[in-house]
Subunit: 505 residues, 2 copies
């Protein structure tokens, strides 16, 4: 028993209270995206601004710093990666980061991003970048200010922002894995475009009644392990998953009656996030041991269930009969093989969230390369559309006809999420590396999926990833679980194994 | 310009911040009643407990008391009922009341009522009072503690609770208007039961498709003036209205495909509350001049639109054609007169929220008489079912067969709302008195409704009630607006004018 047990308990209480308060803001943000009436935007911005300010005030209370300093003197923290050491390490990191941010900046960022998101919704609808520009300028200015007060060691302000989403990662780290991945992907896309074999994707654009999509999606999410007693699924224009805390995790999706993959893989994706949230240790809620490792690891879980499971042949061997029953008009005359090929079509396209497993990563790399000069100041927000379109032509060989399918397509920047995009492609790489490690432990996963057995994989992820909380930083977690440091190779290997036969490469 | 302008501004800022924080809790409470998954109950209770505690901490900050004391010395507050005097009067009242409550009690009340409501939902479903009893005991004990720390001048602990909902009112005041009203109502019910004329209410139990009920209800709410750009309608098991703040007011209802009046009049009722919330002065949000007068006045607005407008013959002269179009299978063969008679049937029944305009008030009086000994300690929670049933037989001549249609029917006690019920019957009396005053100013309102003109009445209420905020206490507001102090007579007169012809009395 440590002499500092009371202080440690006080620290835990304080951490839990800040998390509880932040989880209130999550409810308001969820409501903002799902049910908020148009007239309520301004008031909601004020509410979220206040909650952000209060959480910040509590997270940076001097008393909190004193507790930390006292506990850091304690010998016991030397036990590497023990819950206590992890708690102190991550609490220190969060405290130092938050303490650098003045409360006014925190509140302003919260308020501006709420309003800016609403402005973006409208600007995107009209494909009018000029209407969004003043908000983008505000957000970029605030994020540059944030980077400045956080500080960055190597002259790269972007790293100060990236570090918030992927702790410990730098833009140099990211570039080091993105670069070889890009070379492989560009080559794969070129081969695929040259292939004579292409699926008939019009079968996915038949009539899929929304009610049936909803039921089928919920059933699939339940099958892979999302618990609807502790969560729910609603509609949002820009789908997301939000874990409010123990027993309450919200998924969202959007339905198009003439497009099957959007809602369905969206639901699997968000359910993957949700399974992670539901797999966190509830008794550690609010402390690092009860929190997700990083956004990249979070994304690895969503992409793993969406792509490695949900777009696999064995998954559909198991589920396709039910799909035909759920959508008889659309699928009765479609063979499983044709359906499987259609949901795995690969081609350059404008919209990131609709992109295939290969080109998706190129969409991310483009944003990563564009965000860095935006944050450093080398790129003015006003020049974003032009630079976006030029880069897009270079990457994809096609040019967006309007900004709605170009630089206005994503909600992230309007919400202040700059430095967030790289975590998506990191997530794809983490996912493949974790999946390979799981298969090494559990044997042929595909054979299990064919029998509708998803629990072994889910339990393995729970044990190896979810329950570990923030015990390790993302890179270290991948090493511990897979025995290797992060590499683009497992992803590339997966893509070849899957797409070479599909396109007869 | 006062010397204390800075202090006054600081007071306003402080008041607005507390209101903003409380409005965050309103969002979480709304979500709890509409969308919360079962597993999220405990976490939601913790969230609401924290927000209640934080709001309380801020509402009772010593700095706040200092500001008040300083401003109360200022001569300017002598201008009777000026915004400034009203602000100081009500801020003082709220500060004194809140300061008496320890934060632990506030948090415990919030937490217990969230959990207790969930326990009540289950107990009511099973009609199992014993399952709810431990929670009722907890709530009553906490409310008795609240009454004790608030204090009460005349030996009546109930008054300390009543005063929270209807500021300035005492149980003696309430009894003084309830008593003559009861005599009149009992006599009216007896005459009606003796009448040979009774409507055919089975026409209201035909098939009314839920989607059509929703559309028709929303259209009616829009017609009377609820603004759906600044609000919305969702489904809740126990309907309510919650005004989150400027531009965001939420209505809820519940649909039964074989019962028309429940959802429809529920929507009009909640829309009446909503029109009040939307009519408050947005720039005064968070200060007494931007807040509703009392729960009784709030209820006067809902009951006015639900009953005095929504159950009137002219209203249906205007709307019945649309109703027949919306529900052709149910209403095509029903004459307007028969429909009007059916929605105004009067008979003793078990469920308060389904009661007619006359017996509704008796349901309230029963609760008022039962709550007083519950709070004083003369009645043990365990004895509530027996006493309820005895009183019910006495009031209505019928006895509930099970507690679900007796003492378990209402959500209020489980949510800590003891002392709240009287405001419903007060609301009915306020409504009739206000309506008579409006008609004196505006001429024949019925003739206006027949033409679909609801704006004159709504504007009159806005000017005479909504925009006044808390300028006057409820009793005084009624005097100022109608020229007379509160009386049961306008309500009795309205009931006779309406029901005497319907039942050929």
């Amino acid at each position: 028993m440590s002499n500092h047990q009371d202080s440690y308990d006080a620290l835990i209480t304080q951490l839990k209270e800040v998390a509880l308060l932040s989880s209130c803001a999550s409810v308001l943000s969820w409501d903002e995206q799902t049910y908020l009436p148009p007239g309520g935007t301004e008031h909601r911005a004020n509410q979220l601004g206040l909650l952000a300010g209060l959480a910040h005030e509590r997270a940076t209370a001097p008393h909190f710093g004193d507790l930390l300093a006292e506990l850091e003197q304690d010998d016991e923290v030397d036990v590497a990666d023990s819950p206590r050491q992890v708690t102190l390490r991550e609490a220190r990191r969060a405290f130092d980061r938050a303490s650098k941010l003045p409360r006014t900046l925190v509140e302003e960022l919260s308020r501006v991003s709420t309003l800016s998101q609403q402005a973006w919704v409208d600007a995107r609808k009209k494909s009018d970048f000029r209407q969004f520009l003043p908000w983008l300028e505000k957000v970029v200015a605030l994020k540059r200010e944030e980077a400045d007060v956080i500080g960055f060691g190597n002259g790269v302000p972007y790293d100060a922002l990236l570090d918030d989403y992927e702790p410990g990662a730098t833009s140099a780290d990211v570039a080091a894995v993105f670069s070889p991945l890009r070379d492989e992907l560009v080559e794969m896309v070129a081969s695929i475009l040259e292939s004579a074999k292409h699926p008939d994707i019009s079968i996915l654009e038949r009539h899929y009644p929304v009610e049936a999509q909803k039921e089928f999606g919920i059933e699939a999410a339940r099958q892979i392990g999302f618990n609807f007693n502790d969560g729910r699924l609603d509609v949002a224009a820009h789908p997301f998953c939000s874990g409010f805390g123990p027993g309450d995790c919200r998924l969202t999706t959007r339905y198009n009656p003439n497009h099957f993959p959007g809602a369905f893989f969206g639901i699997l994706h968000e359910a993957g996030h949700g399974i992670y949230e539901q797999g966190l240790d509830a008794s550690s809620f609010g402390t690092p041991m009860g929190e997700s490792t990083s956004l990249g690891i979070h994304e690895s879980q969503s992409r793993l269930w969406e792509n490695l499971v949900g777009r696999s042949q064995p998954f559909w061997s198991y589920l396709y009969g039910s799909a035909q029953k759920a959508f008889p008009a659309a699928l009765a005359d479609v063979a499983l093989g044709d359906f499987y090929a259609a949901i795995n079509d690969v081609r350059p396209s404008f919209i990131r969230v609709e992109a295939d497993e290969i080109t998706y990563n190129l969409h991310i790399m483009l944003r990563f390369e564009l965000e860095q000069p935006l944050v450093s100041g080398e790129l003015a927000p006003a020049d974003v559309p032009q630079v976006w379109n030029e880069m897009f032509s270079r990457y994809f060989g096609i040019t967006p006809a309007e900004d709605a399918e170009g630089c206005l397509q994503d909600i992230h920047w309007s919400g202040g999420l700059i430095g967030y995009f790289p975590t998506y492609a990191l997530g794809n790489m983490y996912a493949s590396q974790l999946y390979a490690a799981a298969e090494a432990d559990l044997g042929d996963l595909g054979a299990q999926f064919e029998r509708g057995e998803f629990e072994p994989l889910r339990n393995w992820l729970n044990e190896n990833v979810h329950r570990r909380g923030k015990q390790y930083r993302a890179g270290r977690l991948i090493e511990v679980v897979s025995g290797h440091s992060l590499s683009h190779e497992p992803l590339v290997k997966h893509l070849h194994q899957k797409f070479d036969p599909l396109f007869e490469l």
